[in-house]
Amino acid sequence: MAKPEFETPTLKEWVSTPAVQPDAMAHSRPFVAKPEHQASLGFPGELVENWQEVALDKMGELLGRYRSLQVFMDACVKCGACTDKCHYYLGTGDPKNMPVARQDLMRKVYRRYFTTAGKWFPKLVGAVELSEEVINDWYSYYHQCSECRRCSVYCPYGIDTSEITMAGREILATIGVGQKYSNEIIGKVHTIGNNLGLPEPALADTLEGLEEEIEEDISVPVKLPLDQAGADVLLVTPSADFFAEPHVDGLIGYAKVFHQAGISWTLSSYASEAANFGIFIGNYENMQKVAQRIRQAALDLGVKRIVIGECGHAWRVAYSFWNTLIGPFDFLDPAYPVPQHICEFTHDLNQRGGLKFDREANDDKVVTFHDSCNVSRGSRLGDTPGGQFTIPRDLIRAACTHFVDMAPDTIHEHTFCCGGGGGLLTDDLIELRVKGALPRAQALQQVIEQYGVTHMAAICAICKSQFSKVLPEYGMGMDMIISVHQLVGDALVFGSEH
């Protein structure tokens, strides 16, 4: 557990574009999945003998399956708009972390095998053979992209590097070189139902303990029901909410809101995970299999609504893909959105006067909000454009007196990734995670100095874990990061009119 040796970047007054440092992060690569992790996802256990052929077949298949990938391979005009937009480039200076360079790792192979010019005049168009060296680069640099899509906001053609990263990872897994962290986790969801591998008895015991804790704390019998058939709402939340801090205080916050609203709800031990790492590894079949558990649990429990807890990419999968992935949802109550985000749920109740807050409960805090990438750029909250930015902020303002935003080019659709998204929240990538958090840490430092900010709220389990780990590297407290629903829960007044 010795700390790996690297230098944490120094915070400056603003984010400046670093000088290029070729291969500065060439050594960064996550552990490769073991044969058993690969097998349970339907991938070969180790590098297949004819890997070049298999990789190119897969690339051809993906180019046909996703028109977007084909367009992204062809459309780049090398304008340079993306070059200084990636947090990993800003934090490491490695030119291969410029989005265009990350794309080119695949584009140069695409040109060699899938374009006429590249087949005949490879040198003229920068086309190269799919060599072992290229594959090594792919493994390293497709695991230095958190699929946050910030670069796509600035690309005049809308090229989304995350889709190229996903394709790269899928090709790697298909030739037998998957990533241990993500694939082990997906395997646990397939067998146990959540990323942690938390079995039903442990989940039940944990929830029971939390109920006792809440009652001791506020003398209100707030419940955390599990597998309660016939409940109105199925809440699906990241398993980190059961396990870790500060996540668990967000879970307690959801429970308090349900209690106060008088709405019957339940968690499911079969679908005890909102996260869906299938999207991270770019594999449709695994993403579908993971999501299918939620549909099944909703049917088995006979619920009318599905609400998703604070998890960024879970919301993107649910909001953007569920309909075709595991729909239709004709068995749910059509009066409510499918799916519904816990922030929408709480916000809607509050708008209708169903909740009362005592903001003084949070008067010891000056709060800012970190927009999570998958909510900001991959989906929406509410029914108006930009609802994903206003709804969480409205909730914070309802529960807190003191709220300030960070710099405009670091929030809303311009938000910086926490540095640990997209399947990179693993200790074997700690250097990348620390360096990639630089732009966010810098923006946070600014509001700490200017407004005395004490806490940063988020609505994503990955963001919460990542910040509690890396903020101390920048001289900030690990407990600065909290759940939006912790603020909500702490300020909620019980017993008033529903």
Binding site: M1, G209, P238
Partner: protein
């Protein structure tokens, strides 16, 4: 990967967690802690022993609040919190204490 101790070989994963829970013994715990410049005292052992008991029953490490509650009951309320656990295990109680207890590393968004 592996380490050897008193003629016994302990298989580990890439990060030094025991590959096989049943191979664990107190010598292995002391050795793994020493490697991280951590001298295990009675307070560490209270946590490690609880982790092992809990794992025996539930096949998973306890959630942080389950752990802090149990430690609070055993050692007094002032110790039933993460701050105390982080003082004992600065790399994070879930990950560091699990390692010395011979448990697999917790996975997921934690």
């Amino acid at each position: 990967m592996a380490f050897e101790l008193n003629g016994k070989t302990y298989e580990t994963d890439e990060e030094g967690y025991l590959a096989n829970l049943s191979q664990w013994d107190t010598d292995a715990a002391v050795y793994m802690a020493k490697e991280d410049d951590c001298d295990l005292d009675e307070n560490h052992w209270q946590v490690i022993n609880f982790l092992r008991e809990y794992y025996d029953e539930y096949q998973i490490a306890p959630a942080v609040r389950v752990l802090t509650k149990a430690i609070g009951k055993k050692l007094g309320k002032d110790k039933g919190n993460s701050k105390y656990l982080y003082e004992l295990f600065p790399y994070g109680p879930a990950k560091q204490a699990c390692k010395y207890a011979g448990l697999p590393k917790p996975t997921g968004c934690v």
